[in-house]
């Protein structure tokens, strides 16, 4: 019987418990143990950003994070953002500006955009480009993604 560690954390606002092997990634825990598959496995080595989640409000690659490190923290995934009407503007902007093509990078892009807008509520295009530097879009739809984030920021107080 190999070791599992009991952890408790807040997942999208709800208290959550999980028993995880110590070497497991946070991404594998979310997808395979908790069952939230919105967060994507892209490269598995921190290059593509498809697995981006928020940990205590900071964006991180969940494929590089040990699941045990979630203990005691507040985790937000794309499902958590989708459930909060405050993020409707961001989602709608991605739809209206054509920021979604095949959609595989979209969860990571949305979560990273949320973080970027929390850091820079009124970002310049350069700040958006820098803010999304850790997220790859294989469809190369960057221009429309940047426009979507700019649009989401419009009208923000």
């Amino acid at each position: 019987m190999s070791l599992t560690v009991e952890i408790r954390f807040t997942l999208n606002g709800s208290p959550t418990r999980a028993a995880v092997p110590p070497g497991l990634t946070a991404l594998a825990m979310l997808r395979d143990i908790v069952g939230l598959t919105g967060t994507k496995y892209g490269c598995g080595e921190g290059e593509c950003g498809a697995c981006t989640i928020l940990v205590d409000g900071l964006s991180v690659n969940s494929c590089l994070m040990f699941a045990v490190e979630c203990d005691g923290r507040a985790i937000t995934t794309v499902e958590g953002l989708a459930a909060d009407p405050a993020n409707d503007r961001l989602r709608d902007a991605f739809v209206e500006e054509g920021g979604v093509q095949c959609g595989f990078c979209t969860p990571g892009m949305i979560v990273q955009s949320k973080y970027l807008l929390s850091q820079h509520p009124h970002p310049s295009h350069e700040q958006i480009r820098r803010g999304l530097e850790g997220n790859l879009c294989r469809c190369t739809g960057y221009k429309k993604i940047i426009e979507a984030v700019a649009k989401a920021a419009e009208g923000t107080p």
């Binding site: 560690v5 110590p22 590089l64 040990f66 530097e133």
Partner: protein, 282 residues
Amino acid sequence: MVERYLAPTTLDEALKALAAGDATIVAGGTDVMPQSQAGRFKLGRTLVNIRRVAGLQGGAKEGDEIRLGALTTISQLREDAFIAKTLPVLAEAADHFASVQIRNMGTLGGNIGNASPAGDTLVPLLVLDAVVELRSAKGMRRLRLDEFFTGPGKTKRTPDELITNIFVPAPKPGFVARFAKFGTRPALDISAVSVGIAGIVKDGKISNVRVAYGAVAPTPVRGRAAEAALEGKTLDAATLAAAAKAAQGEVKPISDRRATAWYRREMIHNLVKKVLADVAHG
């Protein structure tokens, strides 16, 4: 196979865990995780997550030194007002480090312990004359960073020791330090080469010169020939050319998929000129 997981909140607990042997230290995890997932690195019997150890975060002036806690994240290096003011070269290196997500996780101590020849904080720390503080259950010792690395991924740290702090001398008046790295894209690319230069610039002359290179040797290295070409000299076109030539002559890079040895030597030549021009302009 990991048989025990520990997340100590005090340094004593962490050092006790390391003293028991066969432990893997993890902080941000951004290198340990992908290496272990890929099977290139085997986790020890005990996984010691030091992320919650108190007192190892942030920067502060202590006497005539600046202490940087090993658990300071790269994002904190980039955004901390004290570091931006006192050691802007570190903030600049942090700004070009990997990606937002990795900067939010990765730590200064981890970048040093990982000992990559291309580690982005290492070249700036070398020109800042950094010293690494190591602690174990048996005591504390300090090693100069330019004597700390022994090969790619290898250092003089013993398995029971933890990198706890990094100390750099508080910059003296006229101190200037600049850093530049070169890769194929700004984000996430491992440097093909990087260059750091520091010194005290007074009346157009540079002294106490420190030059360091990344990704041209098994470890980040000091550029002693370039330092000698610069020490006490006026920063004019002839000095810049002589230093760039000395740098090009002293590095011994390898060819790999990122760049050929020839290209790396050319880039070292050009980057030394560029960084020196930045230093000359303050």
